[in-house]
Subunit: 206 residues, 4 copies
DNA sequence: TATGAATGAGGGTTCATTCAT
DNA sequence: AATGAATGAACCCTCATTCAT
């Protein structure tokens, strides 16, 4: 009974969340009006405030969702025995998959979360550093295992990896390209991975 | 006489322009108030409207300045006989140098121009495509001359190159890192270039 | 059975009433939210509307309670054979006692009922005039019996009496002073009474 | 030149101030809308914010004006050699005169400043205590000079004096009575003073 | 050129009240 | 009786832009 009510609450909260994603994607955070979000969600104006304290809070929830999911993946990879290539592949796939499932969320990450220094609180900056550190950990592991060249700092290779990934995704985001299905997703992921892996591979001949 | 007046006009216009850069960097375009910009420029806020039609126009001028300068460089490179490595080095150096001379402008490019789909008019999207096409032309030239591997599409290599470059610069922008002088600038530029060139180089042995 | 239900109803109604007193005291009528009152009463806020038509009505009930009790006293005094001094003492004691039993109600009388012209409907103004007339009646009786001087209009002496009383109580209300028990209450009451009586007494020597 | 501009500014500020007094008197602070005040002042909505930071600030200015004027009087009395009766007369006259010149300000003092614990910041509470202390100083002086009885604490006599005064004024405020001119003002002042002085006078026969 | 007073549309937020369950 | 989701009018405040001087 209580469960059902909670479920209903979650459903409506999710509806507002999704509506917010769409509106923010289309108009940007600053130009997104609470009234737009309400209309998009098919509810009355005031109800948004029943579920979210205010506009800022709504945005925080979106950002937190993003980071929670991403850090969930990174935690998983940390404990994994998979090959370094596979780990990086998972990261790439995660971005592509998120873009596939929710282009709006990906868009907001690219346009509002990852760049706008206006929205960048110190808490958020920590998220960034944390994500980059986790990625660098994988790169370092690759260097230690002789998979990646060691004449460049792991930090630099990390920049290249994430920069390349972001460039691909950004381009798709800006051009509003659709990913049609898993095969295409896999193909793109492999391309990115191979390009990077080849570029960063340890070229010492045994 | 006319010259002098124009010069005076240019001077004040430049002062407003610079003030706008600083304010927009700090507060973001949406939160930047015309009154902030006027105060920063040391003039009354009504006067801003003598030099710029409105806030949007002011932003356009900033964006246009960015693109005009960048396309100036790209046109130069197109007519140049320099080695592909040198051309890419010039592009990298351009970003670093701009960041060095005007961190504000670089910041605005990263946070407001390059990502915000809100500010992205179709005209602006063309600028992006144009810049990417010019870069791709250099990469293609590299492939044709046997400098870069050809088993990846030039477009993909372009993503990697620009993505890497942007990642480096973005990190500096977000972390508010200062570039101390030309030597450091050169060192960073060479690192980026070498990383990319090594990653993309044609590995065929003759 | 019916009785029990009514009793239950009264109990909950009283709980809401008391909660309203506390909240209105703390936040003032305008800033007091129905949800605050409900939370303070430990019920859902929809339920408040089962017992009170709306916020205005809730306030009316509070004000009416105040006036009903006060007029109850005044009616009692009218039929009484007690000495004028005793009657005035009863009035003073009533205010102090109300303050002792329910500082919130006294506070609301002082801050919301007795002064705010915003809350002052014509019906409420009549209550005021009525109370003042009843008090004046006692003063007049005192003049007729030779207890009070007659060279001042009874109306003026009434102002002094009620004004003094209110000043004492207001000060306690604003300073949030507690009355510890009956002895203290009696002492304060006697002070006020004596001060006024001495001031107003008929100074003719026989 | 600059003087003129400042003068113009003061004039408009005063117009808004007066409009605010009227609106707040009529509707109370909470129900007074900034739009009402603007319309009452005959200016546009936003202009109010040119002169006052916000609604709270506008109210603060009103309250400060009240206290500044009142404390001006009290400071004057402190340095004066006038008879105690005269000093108290000045206080009474001050309230009546203020009511005469600006019934709205007096009304706001009675209904919003002097009672509403909602509006009562600690700074404001200090104002109250200060005013009461200054009044008590006069009463004490009267006791020391043998003018007032000493068998009651000066604090109690102060309550009576101020309470009586406030009761008179409140009644006029609530009943919206007009004071027609100086003669009437003087007559009322004398009545209040005489009533209090007679009540508080030292009754010892030499 | 230069100033800053003046305008008013726009949008975030609050909260009394209703109503389905 | 009881809950709290749902509604939407109301109101404060911001700030781009205009305009008289």
């Amino acid at each position: 009974m209580k469960r059902d009510l909670d479920a209903v609450k979650k459903v409506k909260e999710g509806a507002i969340f999704d509506a917010a994603l769409r509106v923010i994607k289309q108009r940007g955070f600053h130009k997104a009006r609470m009234s737009d979000i309400a209309r998009e969600a098919g509810i009355s104006y005031g109800l948004v405030y029943h579920y979210f304290a205010n506009k800022e809070d709504l945005f925080d929830v979106i950002a937190n969702r993003w980071w929670a999911d991403l850090f969930g993946l990174m935690a998983e990879l940390k404990d994994s025995d998979a090959h370094v290539h596979q780990k990086l592949g998972r990261v790439i796939f995660y971005f592509l998959d998120t873009y596939h499932r929710s282009p709006e969320l990906m868009n907001i990450f690219i346009t509002e979360i990852s760049r706008s220094s206006t929205n960048l609180t110190s808490a958020r900056l920590e998220d960034f550093k944390g994500f980059m550190a986790e990625t660098e950990r994988i790169i370092t592991e690759g260097q230690e295992k002789g998979v990646f060249r060691t004449d460049f700092k792991a930090r630099y290779l990390t920049y290249i990896f994430l920069g390349s990934l972001e460039a691909f995704v950004s381009t798709m985001v800006l051009a509003d390209q659709k990913i049609k299905g898993d095969p295409q997703k896999r193909r793109i992921a492999e391309s990115i991975l191979e390009v990077f892996v080849n570029g960063a591979r340890n070229q010492q001949r045994s």
